[in-house]
């Protein structure tokens, strides 16, 4: 059974269709990459998975259950967690407390075990040194790390990442790729939106290309990236 399934899902702001009849299946343990030009509707796709936005039509299934209209909080309990493209830290709380929110409320754990999970995640994401800092004062890179850390702390089945590798140095990027591989190999399913394609293909096994809200191509990363349409739309190479 697929972990996540989109069946003819559409979403629109008034007359502006942002998600156009998208169908998509993600198998358990799979890592799917999503690319597409700016404004293609990639982040909106994640909003539909987390329940921040409700489709105009179509059905979304998670582990075979219809979640099209289920609340974000319930979806988190079911095992879906995300990072936001524009970080949304709990600005008045410390970094540790931010992660603890994910570990205790999202992960539905008592505070003792949740604390251990939160500390592990801080270590994993390189945020331990900032544990007691107020999250509102973090620089952008650490905010992005915090996005990932909070999501990881819920120990999700499905991890949704929205442009988390931007701004990393080469070294940091390598560490980051290693971390994601480790998460993937631990059995967590990943959907990752990323403009830094070389980082993306190091982790994912399948690529989904979105253009103007609709699927443009889908398949093995190397083949998809070679195809004429994708090169024209996404990479700006004339066909």
């Amino acid at each position: 059974m697929a972990l996540l399934e989109f069946r003819n899902v559409s979403f629109a702001y008034g007359a502006l269709t942002v998600t156009n009849n998208v169908s998509l299946t993600v198998a358990p343990g799979e890592a799917l990459g999503v690319i597409g030009p700016n404004g293609a509707g990639k982040s909106t796709l994640l909003d539909l998975v987390t329940g921040f936005k409700i489709p105009k039509s179509g059905t979304i299934l998670f582990e075979g259950t219809d979640i099209t209209r289920v609340s974000p909080q319930r979806r988190c309990d079911m095992g879906i967690a995300r990072s936001h493209q524009i970080p949304r830290p709990f600005g008045g709380m410390t970094v540790f407390e931010n992660v603890l929110v994910g570990a205790t409320l999202g992960g539905q754990r008592a505070e003792g075990p949740a604390t251990r999970v939160a500390l592990d995640v801080l270590e994993q994401t390189g945020l331990m040194g900032r544990a007691n800092d107020i999250a509102g004062g973090l620089r952008l890179l650490d905010r992005k790390r915090l996005e990932l850390a909070r999501a990881l702390a819920t120990q999700p089945k499905l991890l949704l990442l929205d442009e988390v590798a931007g701004g990393l140095s080469d070294m940091e990027c390598q560490t980051f790729i290693a971390l994601l591989k480790q998460i993937r190999d631990g059995g967590t399913t990943i959907i990752w939106i990323e403009h830094i394609v070389h980082a993306l293909v190091a982790v994912i096994s399948r690529l989904f290309v979105l253009d103007q809200g609709a699927e443009l191509a889908e398949g093995v990363p190397s083949e998809v990236l070679e195809s004429a349409e994708v090169r024209q739309v996404y990479l700006g190479v004339p066909a």
Binding site: C76, P89, G92, M93, V101, L105, G129, A131, T154
Partner: protein, 338 residues
């Protein structure tokens, strides 16, 4: 690899707890050494402190911006007078019941109000309080515009003037201490994390498993409960209640917001400091008439602009003080700090 320890205690937790206990004890003994005027002022202060802690829990910790808490002050007050008029209900039970009635009204009110967001929510809380005032002013059962007086025998049953003053003080003190205890335990728990996450970003909190509906409902009804009892005690000490006094937005919300904002929005220490400032200013500016409110407003705005954390925020930053430690602190070794 061993994990760093996490503590939730301030730097001198034991000493602080001891000092708090000593202060509460001294306050409880006040009727044995303070005169009636001091006790009356202290009683009023304790009631305001309860209102302030509850408003801070709502606005400062949970991001629920109500400007209509006077609804529950009035409801608690009226409920108490009606229960007292029936006769035979013990004082403590009557007070508890008044709080419960406020809570019972808060639950359906919450379902209505939380459909609205931001400014619409705030305005709606105020409108609801105004509606309650209008209903009270039209209802002959509660004396309409003139209001109600506490039956003489209820006051008499509490003893002579001195004994009554002492009882009122103990009730108000007990309520303020309970309100602090509840807020303190709540904010230190996992549910406290949920409140603060919700305040900082409700949507992101929802995505991380925080039930915003449930948490808002809880904080709103608990605040109504304590606010209702505070209202009951306030009007018990006044011996009379009327719609304009019971549902006064100036007295029960504007003043309370002033106290919290000056002292420190989102800290438990803040309301105590704000309370001291408020009562000092009120005494000082007693002769200035309407200027009094204008000056209070100006001070509140100046504080919001220059020190959003209020006076306590400034002290905390400057000296690192913590009386009510809410934060969880990860004990990092030198190597882990960056």
């Amino acid at each position: 690899m061993t994990q760093p320890a996490v503590t939730q205690a301030g730097p001198h937790a034991r000493l602080t707890a001891l000092c708090i206990a000593a202060v509460i004890l001294a306050l409880a003994l006040m009727p044995y050494f303070a005169d009636r005027f001091v006790l009356r002022t202290a009683t009023e202060m304790a009631c305001f402190l309860t209102l302030a802690v509850m408003w801070n829990l709502l606005a400062g910790f949970a991001g629920v911006m109500s400007i209509g808490q006077q609804l529950y002050v009035g409801l608690g007050g009226y409920a108490f007078f009606l229960i007292a008029a029936m006769g035979g209900v013990p004082l403590m039970a009557a007070l508890g019941l008044s709080g419960l009635i406020a809570l019972l009204i808060a639950v359906p009110a919450a379902f209505l109000l939380f459909r609205l967001n931001g400014a619409y929510f705030a305005v709606a809380t105020w409108v609801l309080a105004e509606i309650a005032a209008l209903i009270a002013a039209q209802s002959d059962a509660v004396g309409a515009g003139a209001g109600l007086s506490l039956p003489l025998q209820v006051a008499r049953a509490l003893g002579n003037n001195d004994e009554r003053t002492a009882i009122f003080w103990w009730l108000a003190l007990g309520l303020a201490v309970s309100a602090y205890l509840v807020a303190y335990l709540w904010l230190r728990s996992g549910r406290g994390l949920a409140l603060m996450a919700m305040r900082d970003d409700a949507e992101a909190a929802g995505g991380l498993g925080v039930s915003t509906r449930q948490n808002r409902l809880m904080v709103y009804s608990v605040a109504a409960f304590f606010t209702g009892i505070a209202g009951a005690i306030i009007f018990l000490t006044k011996l009379r209640i009327s719609p304009s006094a019971a549902f006064s937005v100036n007295e029960w919300t504007a003043a309370v917001i002033f106290i919290v904002v000056i002292g420190g929005l989102g800290s438990l220490e803040g309301p105590i400091i704000g309370l001291a400032v408020f009562f000092a200013l009120r005494t000082l500016l007693a002769d200035f008439g309407p200027w009094y409110l204008i000056i209070l407003g100006a001070i509140a705005i100046a504080t919001m602009l220059t020190a959003p954390g209020g006076l306590w925020g400034v002290l905390h930053k400057r000296f690192g003080w913590d009386v009510f430690a809410l934060r969880r602190h990860v004990k990092l070794t030198i190597g882990e700090k960056s």
